[in-house]
Symmetry: D3
Subunit: 284 residues, 6 copies
């Protein structure tokens, strides 16, 4: 069973609204290689696990647990990017000139029609998240090779999305996730090393220079690219797979540690003009 | 952030393999009104919540947390229904007559091609789970009315699926979920009562007679139809909404309690013939 | 605006339940070349019509009007094929052996889970009807060539579906629709003749022998393959296009006539065990 | 069977072309909570109706009939918003600079590629209309609760879309439909009241102030928010459900009346440069 | 079996980057009436062919072979339109201001997130190519009528897309494909003439004036609108169908000829900043 | 450009009709890890290739060319499995008892409704092939890792499908493709070795025993698991990547060779009762 403490895994930077950035960041939430995919893929792989090699099952479930927190982080980041887009619109001002006319120009219109300026389970093109993306074939090697591709593609896409806006909320979250995808890529590659692969000079994929992404640096300084966070309330055997040198070409050790100290979940303001939340003068 | 203890929220009964039952039970996992939908819908609703009425946010997140455990329960039930379908097939017996020839006749063939006799994120018709099903419009009343329909439809579908097999693994899980859907229906209806609705003699929907479902009775005896389980490791204000009489026509109180004692997560056997898990003689 | 008289365009024959026949007949309702497609395609083509050639617009809308009645006819036929499948199940008999166990074997399970033994907007494979199928390009010749292909394919598919069951409800409806698709194929081909085509010995497509389908014969005797029914309450100029010889190689005239005398819409019995309609003892 | 009189249910205001407004208005036509969904949902619910409570069936079919006219209204509004976008382009001017270069910048490109500047069965994100959205479970209470959510969400979305353009064609149609969705919400809520619900101060959802939408006012003055239009050519028993006070907090009566006087269906000009209709010099 | 010579079927003009043009040209690649559809449709029709009339099978396969080259041509044109969009970005410049901020404004964001500024199997709205579009019903007349509609719609859409940009790479490819679609439309119409149709003054559809498209003229001068290219390494009986007058109203003969002399396949530069190809300093 | 010789890459064994086997074999044609996916994925990867490392581009295109022939092979195998299902039905026997009643019981009904007992671009669940499956990210390492997963999953699925029928047409094709997928897996793994990976004892995935699949053995004896067939009519530099030891744990060399001698493409009989091909007595 699953337990919760109301804390985000990284902080939400506050910056100007940027609906175009919110639109492309949806790829990281609901895209084919986004956080909903990783979350559900590792959920199915751990529930469908066969055989006695429990440390591998614990690895799959361990990454799944962190991915739930990643989904929550990206949801909150998109909400921050959309908040007050089109102005604050404090009341029912429908008779005025159209306040969202400009806001929707480069936006996903569903962010304003379905979400009340908030996140959706879709990708950057507006396509809904799709269960056929989940890879869970029950062959442990095939599953983990797919996981390596999934995490590598996650980093690759994020380094490209990073170039689409310099908004601070946008880049802080991307910087954090790039480092954590790298760590998860290392975790699955590490598990495949236990099964015989020598990755040589291949990892990480893509071959990016961490110094080019200032938002990544503080997390690298904290060693976040080489640790697996442990969200278990009971024992886990994940350490029987994850120990020794990182598969990345950095000569460092890969370890299991407690999760980071959490950050507050932002509280979004009322939007009477969007009828959200819609409780006005009813609870009195 | 999200924490885990390796326990199922209800037990998995062991019975004969039944691939046809596994196929239809997928509706309860990956269908439009299944557990993946409830899980993701309440996840988005709680992350996208606006305004200061935190007890409602705590309600949405609280039900979300239980739904993760429901998804895990149905995944394990489907795996039990598929386990050993087509015989035990202990080794690479490909040269023999086709052992899966009969098994796939009334089955979802993807249970054997993609899953290694295990669950998939699809519905009873094999359609993949789809993000467009998630309803999160940011209007609290509209969101909760949709949640009432969602939980009511969940019960309605489960009472129909129940008639499709008498397999014990199948009916034990359906029985548990029918009672819990009823409880969640009550929880959202309760919250709407706080906003002005008198449901009269309407609930529950459908108007089913609990005595017709023997698997439900033990859960009703434990009061599971009128409680909200609390999976929070920190404080929650959910009790400010959920208290007093249940909206169901039973005159009982609706309360918040700790989660039930857990049940072991089954360990599935190796299936060398399906190349699952595929580690044979490599770890030595 | 649209007006209604509660009458079906053809009769519903009563025969045994046949869920496998209901499943394949869905192609005729919600398939890529089914009645929902023709209905919506001609609706969009007539609303999006450009230019002054109103007789062609009247033709497109005229066929649209009949297609609404076709959709209703197939919905009622599928309901007839599903009615009492699995037995009459008059009460809440859930504790008994699974009454639907056999019924779902060759059925679309959604007929029993979503529909209460009733029709769905999906095709024979269970894929939902899809708006991308609608062809409305605004080029009248391209639109009408597509309509000819659509109606021809409708007949072609129905002659193949016809071979899948000898159920009387199933074949009566197919027989009627084959003849009417033929008439609509002729109508669009006729309009293209006005624009320059000589169909030679090509039509109808497919080149079927009406005498092989006994259910078709009575409609041919009434001339239904060579008439356009007129559902307009005001004037229509459709007759400026539809007159003279039929494009089919039968030497007959193609004319515009009033719709046929209608047939009663069946009333389906309660199904308490499926919680349908679910009003029991509440209206009292 | 279905009959037609060539009249729109409300007028089409003429204003400048606005392809960005056409794009977002598609949500109201082909979106998950748009008019095609309401039309098809009530069509299936009325055809699949079970039991003897005919007044409820007449209610479902009655609303269905009006929704066909709503679909036609939105189709014509989108066509008006697209008409002459990119200039009038009277002839084959392909050799000139690209006249559509600007027009497609904030547009749905399919409006120009597939439609000849005309409506499509898709939503604001370009996703095609999908049959899986139709809810028809045969349980009358569940069906009508879903209908309430559907109509409420329709209003909610329309009040948000309203803010995206001040174009007169756009807002006139939205204003009319907001009032009619409200009326249909009341109709289904009314029917549920007959089954035991007291809505208290909940309705309408969202809790909008009609005075903020000047386009709505004339329809409210005519009482359109509290009437059901009757499009039946034969008798209907809908009045046995729809009578007495409106569920909206306005103290007024809800009644059944004849449909409004109709408005002319616009005739769109030829577009030779788009090869629409494509009849040029062929009919002579 | 299939053989290859590294040559494009037409040349790629070099012009400025134009991501908005790349976005709409995707319709021609991955749209419902684009080159991937024609390629796969004729592939299935020729493999599924029944009966002894081999010249028709050779026709279907013959057009299929050219369509593979068309797909490759459009892929390369889209790549040219995207190349250097956002600037040349020669190194890892992530710390700088967001170079893609402007580029994505009117673009398909997946062109930059998934493709490394390169083509995707999607349409102008970003919807992925879909197998349900393939029409292969095994009735030769129905199949060829559908092919005529497919090729006619291809031309129609291309004449509309043509107006969306004056970019030379864009228009050169469209011009070539318009002429070849015309030829294929003629080829299938010709085959239908052998079966009885007189097209009269109908063809080509749409009724476009070739002189309006300067890019088309050189191909018309070479007769490309009235020839079928032959890509067979063995004998073909295609000439038994394709001979005599073209169905287009131009009085010319339709013939079978060898394919055109090929053009070089462009080599795209490295994009280190997009981690493409990602081999930097690894091959040494 | 692409050239063709009418020869299949392997032979079609003749055996009894088996529609259930045809249904599951569709996974190998139109499934997420089937031959259409590999064909289109390598097509896009080679057209979208960046940089000067032409041997890798030649590798991608080289495998693409063979995949076209694989698609054709599976199409023909499915046609063989469906041929004469339901009996030979030589004429228009519609009035008789329903000849397809039994045939569709465990079949994909679209094989009989759309295909004339012939192949479709769909998977074993009837879901249409989808462009979103194509992975072409322009990062060569990520692309090739994905290709390794794709080919490994192809083998894994085929070994599971193999167990579903002992039909000779079915198993001959699966046996051939298992060996060729293995070869392609080796080819991409080989290319990754050139970039630094030591696969150790990992390959092939899954770790299957070739001796269990008698149909594979003859191809292994011919060395087909360790060769790349060359379909180029001009020079290729593929040999600069593919040489030396195979990554599979068999100690053998991996080489480039000419394609195998071809096999005749079967000619399917007329099916007058299915109106296929529909030319009867028209060509005379």
């Amino acid at each position: 069973m699953y337990y919760y403490k109301e804390e985000l895994i990284n902080k939400i930077e506050v910056d100007q609204p940027d609906p175009a950035a919110a639109k492309v960041l949806q790829e990281t939430l609901g895209g084919q290689f986004g956080e909903m995919r990783t979350m559900m893929q590792y959920f199915f792989q751990s529930s469908n696990f066969r055989g006695k090699d429990k440390p591998f099952r614990d690895l799959l479930r361990g990454v799944f647990l962190e991915e739930i927190a990643h989904v929550e982080l990206v949801q909150n980041t998109i909400n921050q990017l959309l908040n007050e887009a089109g102005g604050s619109m404090p009341g029912n001002e429908a008779a005025d000139a159209a306040p969202l006319n400009e806001a929707i120009k480069h936006a996903n219109p569903h962010h304003f029609i379905m979400g009340a300026k908030s996140s959706l389970p879709v990708d950057a093109g507006g396509n809904p998240w799709n269960g056929s993306w989940v890879y869970s074939h029950g062959n442990l090697i095939a599953d983990m090779l797919n996981n390596v591709v999934l995490e590598s593609t996650g980093v690759l896409q994020k380094t490209r999305i990073y170039e689409m806006s310099s908004n601070k909320a946008f880049r802080e979250t991307l910087g954090f996730l790039i480092v954590r995808d790298n760590a998860h890529q290392n975790a699955f590659a590490k598990a495949l090393e236990a099964l015989g692969v020598e990755w040589g000079k291949l990892f990480p994929v893509p071959n990016y220079d961490i110094n080019k992404y200032p938002e990544c640096r503080k997390f690298v300084d904290m060693g976040y690219h080489n640790v697996q966070f442990n969200f278990r309330l009971d024992d886990t055997r994940i350490g029987e797979v994850l120990y020794g040198k990182s598969p990345s070409r950095n000569g460092e050790a890969f370890t299991v540690t407690p999760p980071p100290a959490g950050f507050p979940v932002p509280q979004l303001p009322d939007m009477p003009n969007e009828h959200s939340p819609g409780l006005v003068d009813m609870m009195n």
